[in-house]
């Protein structure tokens, strides 16, 4: 038995999910091997507790390209024949991991947030139907299983006391049909919501663009910084600089007051570390109530109106 973890890095920095995958891999059997794919894999910090071997997979491309990762991973799987391959449930991995699983006929599941071994079988847990139900999956008849793991579930593996063994490996890349050109940073924002102590966050529940002004006024009165969930940014009602969540900002204010936010997984990833989370939603089953410290099932407009009177 063995576990292969694919390191994730952007612009020379190892992403946290890599260290989380290492921790998650401990639940599985056998030595844990971390593969770093890139033009300078030796520069990436992968000396973490629980890593038995690091493979530096040298390719011409410095930055992520899905064809390159696919070819490199297929070469590694052919050589090492791991039983479990762990990758992050991340934008990069979505570009190649399902293709590798399809091509090689692997067991596969994504956005997995719990794994265990039970009587020689791998059991993975994930959510369905807007996180309202969970399901346990297994992989009968599969030689190997590829799992895409949800970020921010497992703690990051700490530094290793002794460096693991390192293997250098070159992979010839036959071609790359989707080529990285450049990175574009978010435009400099008027506000940095990551620095605020008190965020008033609004979501789909506010219903209409015309209502934004109401919450701008409320946030001013309450001395809060206005933040938003993704749908309002997608609709063009709120600037992306105000977006909390996986594709937006990760925030950790003292108080996070959420009005009309149901609590999609991608949103939770960006705010669950907040000091105190207060959620107001008219849906008693809103997923955010599971992550919040305080909740109220109520009409957010009525609560907002009453709050305004108090400030």
């Amino acid at each position: 038995m063995s576990v292969l973890v694919i390191a994730e890095h952007t612009r020379g920095e190892v992403r946290d999910i890599t260290y989380e995958l290492i921790t998650a891999g401990h639940a599985l059997e056998g030595p844990l091997v971390v593969a770093a794919i890139g033009s300078d894999p030796g520069a990436l910090d992968l000396n973490r507790a629980g890593v038995d071997e690091i493979i530096h997979v040298r390719v011409p491309q410095a930055d992520f390209e899905n064809d390159v990762y696919q070819q490199a991973l297929e070469a590694l799987i052919a050589e090492r024949r791991p039983d479990h391959i762990l990758v992050g449930f991340s934008v990069n991995s979505l570009g190649y991991a399902p293709a590798v699983a399809t091509k090689l006929g692997l067991g596969f599941a994504s956005d997995v947030f719990a794994i265990r071994r039970e009587a020689g079988t791998t059991v993975a847990t994930r959510a369905f139907y807007g996180s309202k139900v969970h399901a346990e999956l297994d992989f009968p008849g599969q030689r190997a299983v590829m799992l895409m793991l949800r970020p921010t579930i497992w703690p990051a593996a700490g530094a290793a006391s002794a460096p693991p063994s390192v293997t250098e490996r070159n992979v010839t890349i036959a071609g790359s049909r989707a080529r990285h050109k450049e990175f574009l940073d978010l435009p400099k924002a008027d506000v940095d919501i990551t620095g605020a102590d008190f965020l008033l966050a609004i979501g789909r529940g506010i219903g209409d663009k015309e209502n934004i002004a109401l919450f701008e006024r409320l946030s001013e009165k309450m001395a809060a910084t206005l933040a938003s969930s993704r749908p309002l940014v997608d609709a063009g009602w709120m600037p992306s600089s105000r977006q909390v969540g996986q594709s937006g900002k990760t925030v950790k204010p003292k108080v996070y007051l959420a009005l009309g936010i149901s609590g999609a997984v991608q949103h939770l990833a960006g705010m669950k570390a907040s000091g105190t989370i207060i959620a107001v939603n008219k849906d008693p089953e809103a997923a955010l109530f599971n992550a919040a410290h305080y909740g109220a099932v109520a009409d957010l407009f009525e609560v907002a109106r009453e709050l305004e009177k108090l400030y």
Partner: protein, 250 residues
């Protein structure tokens, strides 16, 4: 010029949940249905390419049972030219991709668009799996698309934290479309009526291999500690919230 858009009729769970007798899925009486939000953006993007280029055939494809044709009719009402359903049970993303490929490959499309993920499964994997089966290049999580209709396309891939990766992708390609790329148009009542009459091509699903996973059991998640619920009328709730905020901001 042919653009194929792969779509899914997603299931939405309401306030209450009951499971099927075998405990492997939610009882269909407790489910509502809708065209997947990400797929609506993919359809819209295809229609805009058609409008920009002046000509293109937009073909909506789904894999599912008779009921899933509701998603296709919505696409037709938005403006898709025709629709194809692969008659299959929806399971894991790789099996779904296999079913879709049997309808998409014979079309030899110039571009294939899928939603990034479905709201009921959130695997994010069907489009990438499909690209492998079709032997096409792909880009996942596309927030912007520039394409002249021939040669490589330039796309913006939206990474975590909002960082954008500009990618040049050879075509034909499979792109998975992120919400926010556009605002999908509404179908007019008349278009919805007309779509009811349109013919949907039926394709038999190919024999599947082993599924990528098997559901052992489905259950409502443990509530955990959950939130302490504030009771009362809106005024009382607001007062309690104000007290908590004042306390925590000290």
């Amino acid at each position: 010029m042919k653009i194929v858009v792969c779509v899914k009729l997603v299931k939405v769970v309401g306030d209450e949940v009951e499971f099927t007798a075998d405990g492997l899925d939610v009882d269909s009486d407790y489910l509502e249905h809708a065209l997947n939000e990400w797929d609506a953006c993919a359809v819209e993007e295809a229609l805009r390419i058609r409008e920009r280029l002046g000509q293109a055939e937009v073909i909506a494809v789904t894999a599912g049972d008779k009921k899933s044709e509701e998603a296709l009719r919505r696409c037709l009402a938005m403006g898709a030219d025709r629709a194809v359903r692969v008659d299959s049970a929806v399971t894991d993303p790789i099996s779904t991709a296999n079913a879709l490929a049997s309808a998409v490959a014979p079309e030899s499309p110039d571009l294939v668009l899928c939603g990034v993920q479905s709201s009921d499964s959130v695997q994010g994997s069907t489009g990438t799996a499909l690209s492998e089966l079709l032997g096409l290049p792909r880009v996942a999580v596309v927030k912007k698309l520039e394409w002249s209709g021939a040669g490589p396309a330039t796309v913006h891939r939206e990474l975590e934290g909002g960082l954008v990766d500009v990618v040049e992708v050879d075509t034909p390609a499979v792109l998975t479309i992120q919400t926010g790329i556009n605002q999908p148009r509404y179908a007019t009542l008349r278009a919805i009526k007309l779509a009811e009459q349109q013919e949907i091509t039926l394709v038999t699903a190919p024999a599947g291999g082993d599924p990528a996973y098997r559901v052992r059991r489905m259950f409502t998640p443990p509530k955990g500690e959950g939130a302490q619920m504030l009771k009362g009328n809106p005024s009382e709730i607001a007062s309690q919230i104000a007290v908590i905020i004042k306390e925590r901001l000290k």
